[in-house]
Amino acid sequence: MTFLGMPTLSGEPFPTAARAALGDAQLRRNLAKATGTIRAKRARVVEELPDWAGLRAAGAAIKDATLADLDTHLLAFEADLVARGTTVHWARDGAEAARIVTDLVAATGTREVIKVKSMAGAEIGLNDAFDAAGIAPIETDLAELIVQLGHDRPSHILVPAIHRSRAEIRDLFRREMPGVAPDLTDEPAALAEAARRFLRHKFTTVDVAISGANFAVADTGSLVVVESEGNGRMCLTLPRTLISVVGIEKLVPTWSDLEVFLQLLPRSSTGERMNPYTSVWTGPTEGQTAHVVLVDNGRTATLADTVGRAALRCIRCSACLNSCPVYARTGGHAYGSVYPGPIGAVLSPQLTGVAHNRTLPYASSLCGVCQDVCPVAIDIPSILVHLRGKVVEDHAPVAEAAAMRALAWAMADAGRWRRLLRAGRLGRALGRRRDRIGSLPPPLSAWTGTRDAPRPPRQTFRDWWESR
């Protein structure tokens, strides 16, 4: 495995990075407000659907079925794309993907590209590759633009600039945005208007756009981008060349599977019945040239782990971030990864290999809320424990490895885990003081040394849920 491009997936050890964030009261207030608001909206619209549990079960099963036959679906998807005139590229890792995209842009002779927000693009370190090649990438999602102008990093999947206040954004725009009015106020509407004007010019003059995809449909060759602002539609429509960077786990087998995901994603993500815009395209349209880059970058390694593979179901809704008590206190930067929060804690170490991301599996209290809100029912706590076992196995004494394996065994099966929690055995074993798990032996101490982990509650969330 190559290590180029890895800095986007592993940074400082989580406990070190988290310590700084924990001292930042403003950050914690911003995060608490943001995650609380989105959480409440999500709960309201999820409750509206009587068949949410059925949708969730279908979503999980469709993704599992896709992964279980991933090569077949990829080949079908590729065949559709080629038949419609899209050029398909494959990339083993982030560096290769970034090189392919950069070369494609360079070949057009363009020195500027506009970008639709894409986690895959961030993961492969595209902006750094562009900078190195003398190509200027312009983020068109407002939050991503704020992050870019601030030479900053995103801190949330959905609202990447959530750590910035309106006054900071105003100062940033005045300083960094070409052509901005010097008397710009910090009203969100005024700031959005300034971005609109700046970007409108780019949309109508820049000739190459880079997008990701939320879904890629194997049986029709359709790509789907879900967004709010309309910047995605602009990028997908106006430039003459469109390059889409697509993780190989984005596939769904059939067009009709979207009936599940287009219900799960918006409600879980922004807490809306539907996001303002969803674009679907099948082959190049309206005179464009289209390229798709299919990216592995650790996904096949993740697929090889029968426990950890479930993380590849993720549809990047960010509901787990908004529900996570650890994320709410540390913010996204502490994870040192493009994928923060609970999903980051399981996905990033798998994409890089646990040897290169040893602390993220400990960035959790294992409270289980992330699994409860996940629209594709990823059992994040079990994967965390499984990965902790791998981290320990990688280095530490045998007894700890055995303990972690035991915990992994306990959590690997939903019924088993529930019975143990109910019996309180695990809670007692872990909760030395009344409600807190105190200091644990290394390497768990990396987490518990700086934070108390809450003891599993007497009544589990599942029990409460089922007893309602």
């Binding site: 959005a192 067009w255 009709s256 009936e259 219900q263 019945r273 996001n275």
Partner: protein
């Protein structure tokens, strides 16, 4: 080995002996083919902050005229397949980006509308909906939704859209909540969405 073969080889190795996966449980409400509820659709679109007028089928032209008048929209583009009677003075030819960015508004129909979510779906190969740039650049988008286009829920829409190559699903006007989670409408794309529902 080239990247494609290498990735396919890795997948085959990762999957090992393939066991058949259990069938996908479809225990959710699927497409029913029942018509969608007009009033629910209107309510859900209003929820997004769009303006909605519900009129009878023979009053579309009058409703379009009133909407454009209220908006003070004079320089208007209509998708080429929009009946001439709905907007007699609208321009039906232009697709030039510069010009589209400057017009007062655009009129289209839609392929499907979803009652449960208040979503309007455009089929960009259909002449009464037009290419994507048409509904992207003007600041005001007026959509005419006929009763027979309204389906109940997302699964009905997905079923109705099978084979439609280029689609835009629209749920309310463009919006962002990126600055301190305060909602601002119309960062890009039309800042105003207005819907005429013909029952």
């Amino acid at each position: 080995m080239n990247a494609r073969d290498e990735i396919l080889r890795r997948i085959a190795a990762a999957l090992g002996d393939r066991r058949p996966t259990p069938p996908v449980p479809r225990a959710y409400r699927r497409a029913t083919g029942e018509p969608g509820d007009v009033d629910l659709f209107a309510d859900r679109v209003r929820d997004y902050g769009a303006r909605v007028r519900v009129v009878s089928a023979d009053a579309i032209a009058a409703a379009v005229a009133t909407a454009l008048h209220d908006r003070n929209a004079r320089d208007v583009v209509a998708a080429p397949g929009i009946p001439a009677g709905w907007a007699p003075t609208a321009d039906r030819s232009t697709v030039d980006t510069q010009r589209l960015g400057a017009v007062d508004g655009v009129i289209t129909a839609c392929r499907v509308a979803i009652a449960a979510t208040g979503t309007i779906v455009l089929d960009h190969d259909a002449p009464d909906q037009g290419v994507r740039a048409l509904t992207l650049l003007p600041d005001y988008h007026l959509v005419v939704v006929r009763r027979d286009r309204i389906v109940a829920d997302v699964p009905d829409a997905v079923a109705a859209l099978a084979g439609v190559r280029t689609q835009t699903w629209i749920s309310g006007p463009s919006a962002t909540s990126d600055i301190e989670l305060e909602r601002v409408e119309g960062v890009h794309g039309p800042r105003t969405l207005e819907v005429i529902v013909a029952r």
